[in-house]
């Protein structure tokens, strides 16, 4: 279908410390015992998109991700990994690989997207309108644990920051305004408002970081605006803002192509055909705007910015904060368990001690051992964990190779790989970084524990 897929996997994410580290870059962060990147790749594979470029920040991370992909998707996907320097942003990453882009349209997916929205839907919308950019919007997920509102104030602050202010046209097909943060005042182009007549502002939608770009437009913008760092904060708003006064260059390429196609037919007939075609469809406001009052289409150049709004029944969350990490873990084992790819099926069932209960919505990795009288509820436990007796784990995520001593109580916490919890540790809403050792009997609440970097 002439689409090229770029997965922006990212590297180390500050939002997710201490969960991610040098050894465990963000793409490999396990969600229900399965790296988060797997969800994206699996979904793309389902859609028959087997040629991918995965962009990873940092050389080391790229090696790790590459090793994992080649181990998991050998013979299934044709993946190329590109390592880009850190902190150049999403736009920078695309700029770095833009010379590899050859297809007509580029599908850019964020590597931390856990969703069941088919990318084909986005691509089809993009093609249908012949848009310069199409973005997927999804409703903002319900955040926070199902139980008590135990999420800390920090998380709430982050949640607020994630709001998008999005302006749509009445038919909900075109994007008229997008702002990432809540600002005191929003600037909306008068020209756009005038052309559309009516704009619907929504704050209940979220940019899902899945975009389809016209390649020529994307490369053009990346070339010219070399200060642009982020797709979401720079490139997309720029395209949206300039959709009615797009520089001629944005439209030049498609027109040039058309003309070269039709060398044969005379220019006159060409105009005739295009007029018939134009009259046949209900013009969008772009078309109406670019018309002069006397009906002749003028030199005003426009490009379309479309949206695809995922239906509210579909699942679509980005893993960009610890809270989101917890939510996704909960949902993937619970409501949205269809997202789990088949290779994630639990191996040989773990050894359980006597009187140990494992509640619903739990997931235990292979080779984990549990002592007597443990209780596990709504939690995920990775591979090869050793859990002593009388341990309670509720709403928690325990990654691989974790040793938990007897009598520990873990609530709403994330415990990374190779952590040692000695006896009678009580953790509530904590994040424990990889390799950390929690001394016996200590109690922590809403803290993030990590080994000091040496």
């Amino acid at each position: 279908m002439d689409f090229q897929v770029v997965v922006l996997a990212g590297g180390n994410s500050k939002n997710l410390t201490p969960l991610v580290s040098k050894e465990l870059p963000k793409p490999l962060l396990p969600v229900a015992n399965c790296p988060v990147l797997n969800y994206v790749l699996h979904q793309l594979e389902q859609s028959n998109l087997k040629d991918l470029i995965v962009v990873v920040e940092g050389e080391d991370a790229a090696l790790l991700v590459g090793a994992w992909i080649s181990g998991t998707f050998i013979d299934r996907l044709h993946v190329e990994i590109a390592a880009v320097p850190e902190d150049i942003g999403t736009a920078g990453a695309l700029r770095a690989i833009s010379h590899h882009l050859t297809a007509k349209d580029i599908l850019v997916v964020s590597g931390d997207l856990v969703s069941d929205v088919p990318p084909g839907a986005l691509a089809a919308t993009h093609r249908r309108h012949d848009a310069a950019v199409t973005t997927m919007l999804c409703s903002i997920p319900v955040s926070g644990p199902l139980e008590s509102g135990s999420s800390g104030g920090k998380d709430k602050a982050k949640k607020l920051g994630r709001y998008n202010i999005i302006g749509l046209d009445p038919s909900k097909q075109f994007l008229l305004h997008i702002a990432t943060e809540i600002e005191k005042d929003a600037r909306i182009s008068k020209r756009i408002l005038h052309a559309v007549g009516q704009m619907e502002m929504r704050s209940d939608l979220m940019d899902a970081h899945m975009y389809a770009f016209k390649r020529s437009v994307l490369q053009e913008v990346l070339d010219i605006k070399d200060t642009f760092q982020s797709l979401k904060e720079d490139v997309l708003p720029y395209l949206v803002r300039s959709q009615l006064k797009s520089e001629a260059l944005l439209n030049r390429t498609p027109q040039g192509e058309e003309n070269s196609n039709e060398k044969v037919s005379s220019q006159n007939n060409q105009a005739f055909i295009s007029r018939i075609l134009a009259n046949a469809s209900t013009p969008s406001f772009h078309g109406l705007y670019s018309e002069n009052p006397d009906g002749s289409s003028s030199t005003r150049k426009t490009h379309k910015c479309c949206v695809y709004i995922a239906s509210s029944s579909s699942y679509c969350v980005r893993l960009n904060s610890i809270q989101a990490f917890m939510d996704i873990n909960r949902d993937v084992t619970g409501d949205a368990d269809h997202l789990l790819s088949p290779n994630n099926i639990i191996g040989p069932s773990p050894k359980l001690g006597t009187k140990t209960t494992v509640g619903p919505n739990c997931r235990l990795g292979e080779g984990s051992e549990m002592g007597d009288k443990c209780q596990v509820k709504r939690s995920i436990i990775g591979r090869h964990c050793r859990i002593g007796s009388h341990v309670k784990a509720v709403n928690s995520v325990v990654m691989n190779h974790v040793t938990i001593g007897d009598g520990c109580i873990i609530q709403g916490s994330v415990i990374c790989s190779n952590v040692q919890l000695q006896e009678r540790v009580v953790l509530k809403d904590c994040q424990v970084g990889a390799g950390f050792v929690v001394t016996a009997g200590s109690e922590y609440k809403a803290e993030s524990l990590a080994k000091k970097e040496k």
Binding site: M1, D2, V55, I81, T102
Partner: protein, 579 residues
């Protein structure tokens, strides 16, 4: 079949009267009597010498309501016959059915589509010494590909389907049937085109012909053309590809599937690409039409975007635009389709061990193109063959659509006199051009644009006309009987003219024509010759399309008057949006 059907056939004649049945008009001679002695109407007895025969004829065939023939010098095809009442645009009527078979319909471009791209296809990105040092692509996971991975790395534009060459054969065989069927549904334009092909020689210059005029040529030409076409084809590709053979069979007017025939519907469902959910509350009279839950098809097709890989993107795009109603009108659809095919042909490359003639016919199911491809000499090289085909397409568009419209416009403008009040219904591209051209010539006339809910296509026409400075009146079809008093001429577009003279056009057109008839206003139907079809159709309601019922029960942008909210699923409410 099922008992309901048989009962229906009995009651059919009555049903048909529901249509637009004007009792014999009282006064008949609007145009001069000599014109009625039009020799070109022999085949249908009820339509010859209408003036005196018609009233009594009604009891015999209630279907054929004799139209008054206001023939003005052989150009004007007069009032629509009653057999063609509310017809959907045949093209838009296909919106429902195209995409289901789209995969098959539309030029399947699959195996080894090695794009002829100028961008060094053999450069392996990992190896490529690139100017931007930041990113080297490392191939970490590779699908096992039999031939040259190195060619593949260029990017997505080079889509090598590793399993295709193996399965292409079986795949083709599987789909070929559906493909054919699909063709019939989807590429009406092309078919009509192919038909018109036959008449081309005779009628290329005079595009505007009365339907009667074309009958003789219809009867003979298409068949002869068909024959020799298939002979050539058959001799050239006896072995594996029987397409032309089947094409010919299908070419005889194909009984469209009756959607109240359950077993057939089941079969059709299995073939369909688009999931079709049946609507629940169906109007009894229109049960035989495809009744699909609106709004389920588009998302479904969208979801499959990447899975329908063998299809060319341009073709997919057109299918999507058809389905979503982005392209309306026969000419526009036809042009869009051909341009998509052109793209597809441009990007096509013959897979190894195949010949272009055989492989491409299997992929493109347009009658016109298949014929063309089959007629290509074997000796032609691939690029030559492709450019020939593209030239053929261009020529088709130029001759059949553009030239014919110009001829129609030129001719029709002579019918417009100063002081005329012209009425048109909906938005026809030809009629629009006639009006604009007449205006450019400086004629003084007024235009009445009659429109109807829910599509309101007339508004777009109106917008363009008013902008050009024409004086216009805009009204809805409800008021047509009031406004008709002033009107001196009615111009209508058509999606098709069938061989018995039936005109096939947007729903509501017949209504306008009948009112015009009652008021003794001449009706001119403007239709390009490529839209002529040899099918005969007596029933007015057998090929309609049902639209989204929401469109009539809701008013866009005016939520305060949506009284039917929440009623849609009521068992005793049946909404009928005939298109």
């Amino acid at each position: 079949m099922d008992p309901r059907r048989t009962a229906r056939t009995v009651s059919d004649p009555k049903v048909r009267q529901v249509g637009f049945f004007t009792p014999a008009p009282p006064e008949r001679s609007i145009s001069d009597p000599p014109r009625f002695q039009d020799p070109i109407q022999p085949p249908s007895p009820s339509s010859t010498q209408v003036n005196d025969q018609s009233p009594s004829g009604n009891s015999l065939s209630p279907v054929m309501i004799p139209p008054a023939h206001h023939h003005s010098d052989n150009f004007l095809r007069t009032a629509l016959q009653a057999t063609s009442p509310p017809k959907a645009f045949s093209y838009s009527a296909k919106t429902v059915t195209i995409p289901p078979e789209n995969e098959d319909v539309a030029s399947l471009f699959s195996p080894g589509r090695k794009v002829v791209s100028a961008k060094s296809p053999s450069s392996f990105p990992g190896v490529k010494a690139s100017s931007v040092p930041a990113s080297e692509l490392t191939t970490v996971s590779v699908v096992n590909l039999p031939p040259g991975i190195s060619e593949k790395a260029g990017g997505a534009s080079v889509e090598v389907q590793n399993d295709r060459p193996v399965s292409a054969k079986t795949l083709k065989e599987k789909t070929s049937k559906a493909e054919r069927r699909a063709l019939q549904e989807a590429q009406r334009a092309a078919k009509a085109a192919a038909k018109a092909e036959g008449t081309k020689a005779s009628s290329a210059a005079s595009k505007v012909v009365t339907s009667a005029n074309t009958k003789p040529s219809k009867a003979t030409k298409p068949s002869s053309q068909k024959n020799d076409g298939s002979q050539v084809a058959a001799s050239e590709k006896k072995g594996d590809d029987r397409a032309p053979e089947k094409d010919r069979k299908k070419d005889a007017p194909h009984p469209r599937m009756q959607y109240d025939d359950k077993s057939r519907v089941e079969k059709a469902k299995k073939r369909a690409v688009v999931k079709q959910t049946e609507a629940r509350n169906r109007v009894e009279l229109f049960r035989h039409l495809p009744q699909y839950e609106h709004g389920t098809q588009l998302p479904d097709l969208e979801t499959k975007f990447f899975e329908l890989d063998p299809m060319h993107p341009a073709v997919y795009k057109v299918g999507l635009q058809y389905l979503s109603g982005d392209i309306r009108g026969g000419n526009a659809r036809c042009i869009a389709m051909f341009q998509a095919f052109k793209e597809a042909i441009k990007d096509y490359s013959t897979p190894p061990e195949k010949t272009l003639i055989r492989d491409l016919t299997a992929r493109i199911s347009s009658y016109f193109l298949k014929n063309r491809i089959a007629k290509l000499p074997l000796a032609l090289s691939e690029s030559e063959a492709k450019s020939t085909l593209m030239l053929d397409i261009d020529r088709f568009i130029n001759e059949k659509i553009i030239l014919s419209e110009k001829v129609i416009v030129k001719h029709a403008v002579t019918k417009i006199r100063d002081g005329d009040v012209l009425l048109t219904y909906g938005a026809s591209s030809v009629v629009e051009m006639i009006l604009l051209h007449a205006h450019e010539l400086g004629k003084h006339f007024r235009v009445v644009v009659v429109d109807s809910r829910p599509k309101l296509e007339g508004q777009l026409l109106l917008r363009r006309l008013v902008r050009k400075g024409l004086s216009c009146t805009y009204t809805h079809v409800n008021a047509v009987s009031c406004i008709m008093q002033d009107v001196t001429r009615v111009f209508l577009g058509a999606s098709s003219v069938l061989s018995n003279g039936t005109v096939y056009s947007r729903v509501g057109t017949a209504c306008v024509a009948m009112v015009a008839h009652a008021f003794c206003v001449p009706v001119l139907v403007c239709c390009e010759a490529y839209k002529f079809h040899e099918r005969v159709q007596l029933d007015s309601i057998c090929f309609n399309e049902l639209g989204n019922p929401d469109a009539i029960s809701k008013v866009q942008g005016r939520e305060e008057i949506n009284y039917l909210d929440g009623f849609v699923n009521q068992e005793n409410l049946q909404l009928l949006n005939l298109m």
